[in-house]
Symmetry: C2
Amino acid sequence: MEKKGCQYGTHRTLEPLGILPQPAWKIDNSMEIYDNELLIEVDTLNIDAASFTQIKKQAEGNPAEMEKIMLDIVAKRGKHHNPVTGSGGMLMGTVSKIGSAWAGKTPVKVGDRITTLVSLSLTPLKIHKIKKIHLEKEQVEVEAQAVLFSSGIYAVLPTDMSPSLALAILDVAGAPAQTAHLVRPGQTVLVIGGGGKSGMLCVYEAKKRAGISGTVIGLGSSRGSCDRMRQMGHADVVIQADATDPLAVMRAVSDATKGEMADVIINCVNIPGTEMGSIMSAKDRATVYFFSMATSFTGAALGAEGIGKDVTMLVGNGYCRDHAAIALQTVRENAVLRKTFEELYA
Amino acid sequence: MEKKGCQYGTHRTLEPLGILPQPAWKIDNSMEIYDNELLIEVDTLNIDAASFTQIKKQAEGNPAEMEKIMLDIVAKRGKHHNPVTGSGGMLMGTVSKIGSAWAGKTPVKVGDRITTLVSLSLTPLKIHKIKKIHLEKEQVEVEAQAVLFSSGIYAVLPTDMSPSLALAILDVAGAPAQTAHLVRPGQTVLVIGGGGKSGMLCVYEAKKRAGISGTVIGLGSSRGSCDRMRQMGHADVVIQADATDPLAVMRAVSDATKGEMADVIINCVNIPGTEMGSIMSAKDRATVYFFSMATSFTGAALGAEGIGKDVTMLVGNGYCRDHAAIALQTVRENAVLRKTFEELYA
Ligand SMILES: NC(=O)c1ccc[n+]([C@@H]2O[C@H](COP(=O)([O-])OP(=O)(O)OC[C@H]3O[C@@H](n4cnc5c(N)ncnc54)[C@H](OP(=O)(O)O)[C@@H]3O)[C@@H](O)[C@H]2O)c1
Ligand SMILES: NC(=O)c1ccc[n+]([C@@H]2O[C@H](COP(=O)([O-])OP(=O)(O)OC[C@H]3O[C@@H](n4cnc5c(N)ncnc54)[C@H](OP(=O)(O)O)[C@@H]3O)[C@@H](O)[C@H]2O)c1
């Protein structure tokens, strides 16, 4: 008889009891699954960059020592949750058992090769053997097992692209799916950081949705990312400007739109201080989507208030329903996008 | 002939040139207005609490010394932008001149008594005389003049309530106006911090919008705020729980909604760490409105992703069109709200 689990995995929390598995110090990593869990035979751990660097440093670069540290973390905490950096990573493996009450977001079957999209810092893990540590890729080949709760997200790894390409796309999967929700035909869309990984997906998806009557503007700070946008040809206008200079951004967008400004602004940069430029490029009652994790909540809220701008500002949720399938399909359906992504990330 | 000004007041920036007036070190406080400006005869400065405390301390509580410090700030910077705390405050005064190209958000006429809702840290100000410093109210009676740009927001002070009551309402004016936009008839709405200043306005407005077929749940951590919500009678259900405990919040909301959870969550707390409780109280595809300035952007974005929750999360913009008029009217139209606000804030 399977035991009934909590959707968020609190049935696995051991220390302190009653809280969520992510903030917990220790979780139960016994590999007998509850009714709402998935069992995974793990072959690869993608350790988070900060965590990997810390472990390597502590081990003075010695793989045998790194192995000991990693096994020790999992033995103590039931998960690969680095106590120094607080971070986790992702894993790849093959589904071997599915709980009777599993309610996944996409259909999954035994034998599927999947990658988890939730952090290792909340994933019950048991390592049987570390086979090899790939220092350059920050990956670890293992014989291990892991458990995914029904609230946990994952993606079936596609067979038509390399795992590293798939992981690069999945990392920013929320962005194109949200763009599809936000953009309507005929609208003017500004993608700040449009030549980056998430930005390229957003520019393409925005043009698809805005259509021939719409205008998509891509903005980047370097010659390189702007040339890339021009070559790809999905943006109607490319602006080279520094997104941290709100007046420069506003003037360039005003020029490109004959003073009309943008209906939807999608912020895909990887640096802080770009809230004001995003807000000042907006029409009245426009929508600003902050996908960038470098966004400051108060910078956005007080910035808009300070200039009396009535804009809807959205926090970039990394997840939205079917986002993995949507993002992979986006790259598959467009040859230019696929070629560029293969060159950069495969 | 009037000179043509920039909507955001960059024509006033002196040091460094070309940037916005708020981050500028020095702005032009000559009182000859540009075409898009409003001239105000100022009688009261509401100095920001942090700034006032700093000045008082530096002056060792001596009003004559405080006067000197304040005059010195304005002489050096052209605005009451405290160089130590970085903060400003608000002002009250009477409109004496309106530029020909002024495009205000609400109609204003010469002689109206207004309060600015943008910070003193970006408002051109010239103090002719400091008449009295009110240490307890952190207010300064002055003979002064100030300028408001067309992007600057303000409110005409109502004649049917005290200035301190009006200022208390205007401080959180964005919250009820946004609630009105978000809530539809029949929905289930959770207001976290529903017994606080912004929370009470949101609970009332949410009930008005959700109507008899909807359910409004107010949540507070103290007995006091929960009793207040019960006495006011606008919430259908009152929950006493700690918003920083996501599982406790989720379970209480689940009980109150028979497992259905909420369509709209409005977060009005004044403490950090409540993102997860807000997200976990949501239905799939629900909307979470973070009015609280203590919200962490990454806490919200990564929190939702970590549990695979497809929710729309909004950054609480302090401004939305007509927000001042809407907030004042909200308090006026309901006797219970008005009485409570008068007791607490008048
Ligand atoms: N919300 C979520 O769940 C989630 C998930 C994954 C990632 N993210 C966030 O998404 C953001 C982007 O990720 P990514 O992988 O797409 O990054 P990326 O590939 O590094 O792209 C960043 C882009 O920003 C541009 N940029 C940098 N500085 C700029 C400036 N001053 N002005 C204009 N453009 C500038 C860069 O172009 P130039 O080189 O031309 O400057 C580059 O194209 C990151 O902040 C990441 O944290 C969020
Ligand atoms: N977005 C904007 O533009 C804007 C503008 C103005 C203000 N704000 C922000 O809005 C927030 C609220 O302002 P306010 O003036 O309404 O504050 P307030 O009157 O102090 O109310 C805060 C409420 O939060 C509740 N609370 C505190 N800790 C709690 C906990 N652990 N669990 C549950 N409830 C808790 C309090 O109830 P208990 O006493 O029962 O705990 C109280 O009713 C602040 O963060 C402020 O910065 C934003």
